[in-house]
């Protein structure tokens, strides 16, 4: 591995409550949010408020319609729905309910039927759309947050993880109530600024697509030092963040995962 590899920085500052936003470094990112068809995590409104572009993939629209009012039980559901209206609904539209579709159409939401395209998953279509449409010139400053990609049908989850690999030049983060995952592409060495109020300590590094002959880390309880990792052998799970800066260098694409602390306050 060339020590001169460019460093890519990561920080889950999108999970911090608004008043704690003060990070000058890494540079500010533009966020987009994609909602897939699973129950919303409890911090979905926080992500929504960070995002400049919000896309629902098909039944993800049902989840926003039903789920956002449930996260604000003391508020009028209609008002909550109007506050949390997506920009676009996309996909093959076989899961979105008719009443939900009509509601959003009446509000001027773009509903795009892509049932003709069976070769790519809903997430793939939404990521491609966001990448083309997001209000940011430099794609390295775009970060796509995705909820509903983990759990549920296993082949959907694996398909979603493959989207991270297919768009390895984009920052895409998959989030659930329990954890987040994103790719650490082998083209860079990585610096992860752990947001200790909201994430950790449990973490892992997973060579899901291909083995790693050499991975090195700093900042973990069980650091790797030119260590080989592979399925059938060693993979780094149930590791623990020890410092608030983690570095990772590898000859392979790795999935980084870290637990999310409960509860996240709005």
């Amino acid at each position: 591995m060339a020590p001169e590899m460019e460093v890519m920085s990561h920080a889950s500052t999108f999970l911090l409550p608004h008043e704690h936003q003060h990070q000058p470094d890494p540079p500010a990112l533009t966020y987009a949010l994609i909602v897939l068809n699973q129950r919303l995590p409890r911090f979905a409104p926080l992500l929504w408020n960070r995002a400049q572009l919000r896309v629902c993939a098909d039944g993800g629209a049902n989840r926003v319609y039903d789920g956002m009012p449930e996260l604000f039980p003391d508020q009028n559901p209609e008002e909550v729905r109007l506050r949390y209206t997506p920009d676009v609904i996309k996909g093959d539209l076989d899961s979105i309910r008719d009443d939900v579709k009509d509601f959003y159409l009446n509000l001027g939401v773009r509903v795009v039927d892509e049932s003709h395209d069976q070769d790519t998953t809903d997430l793939h279509k939404c990521v491609a759309y966001v990448s083309n449409s997001a209000p940011v010139e430099d794609k390295s400053k775009l970060c796509i947050l995705v909820v509903g990609a983990l759990g549920g049908r296993f082949d959907h989850e694996i398909g979603n993880i493959n989207v991270l690999h297919r768009f390895s030049n984009l920052r895409i983060v998959l989030l659930s109530d329990d954890c987040l995952i994103h790719l650490l592409p082998k083209t860079h060495s990585h610096m992860i600024h752990v947001q200790l109020p909201v994430e950790g300590p449990h973490c892992g590094l997973i060579p899901i697509g291909a083995p790693s002959a050499r991975t090195s880390t700093t900042g973990l309880q069980w650091n790797l030092s030119d260590t080989a990792m592979s399925f059938g052998g060693l993979i780094s799970t149930s590791n623990v963040v020890k410092e608030d800066k983690i570095t990772v260098s590898s000859d392979a694409d790795l999935i980084w995962t870290i637990s999310i602390k409960k509860p996240i306050q709005e």
Binding site: C203, I206, T257
Partner: protein, 274 residues
Amino acid sequence: MVSRLVQNMKVMKHAATFLLPPSVVSATNRSAQTYALVVLNQQIPKFTPLLWSHAKLRICADGGANRIFDGVPKLFPDQNQLNIQHRYIPNVIKGDMDSIRPEVHKFYAELGSEIIDKSENQDTNDLHKCISFIREQTPAWDHSNLCILVTGALGGRFDHEAANLNVLYVFSDMRIVFLSDDCQIRLLARTHQHEIHIQSTVEGPHCGLFPIGGPSVSTTTTGLTWDLCNSEMRFGSMISTSNKVREEKVTVCSDADLLWTISLKTPIHMGLTC
């Protein structure tokens, strides 16, 4: 190259007969598999009593005991809950015991569960330890006919899920099946050609084949809607998700270890009274 492999490789057959009621399985006189059940610490699938009825050995990994204690009675809401708890006693409870509730521990210990509480090495997870235990503790069984059913391996923290998937690869010479309410997963090892006999009353049609851990240069299938033909599969490119079973027999031949997943048709009829 693939055709030479085909000539030399033995065929391994798979059939999810553990999803059929016991009466159906014995009536059809299929070659008997011996089942063991491992319950990990996540919500149990609704058909867990069916798996329990097929299993000769039932092991709870630590907090999996809480899941049986709390969860099985809820599946029989019209029956006396304490009676149900007495009928579903695990043979073994294994792990570091930091998740099992004290009252659950006491209940099962008094009713004969073997509690194995040793602080062992931290390099292997609960599932790994349970699989090792089953392998070591059943020397009299025919391990080529042993199938280990696992509930609770998916969901929750992603690194736990990945560690559990890795156990399939570490023990790639064993039959291990992960089950959830939505789907089942098993490893199709590269050492064999595979025949999967689809139990269409309980499983399908959605399925997938994934080259987790390393790419496949050449995979060939039959019986799927989108069959592969000497196809390359790898993360970052094509992997077979949202496929569908088209025939009752699916065959898979690959140069790589692949994960096979198939959806379940719920509700699964258990054919049990309790």
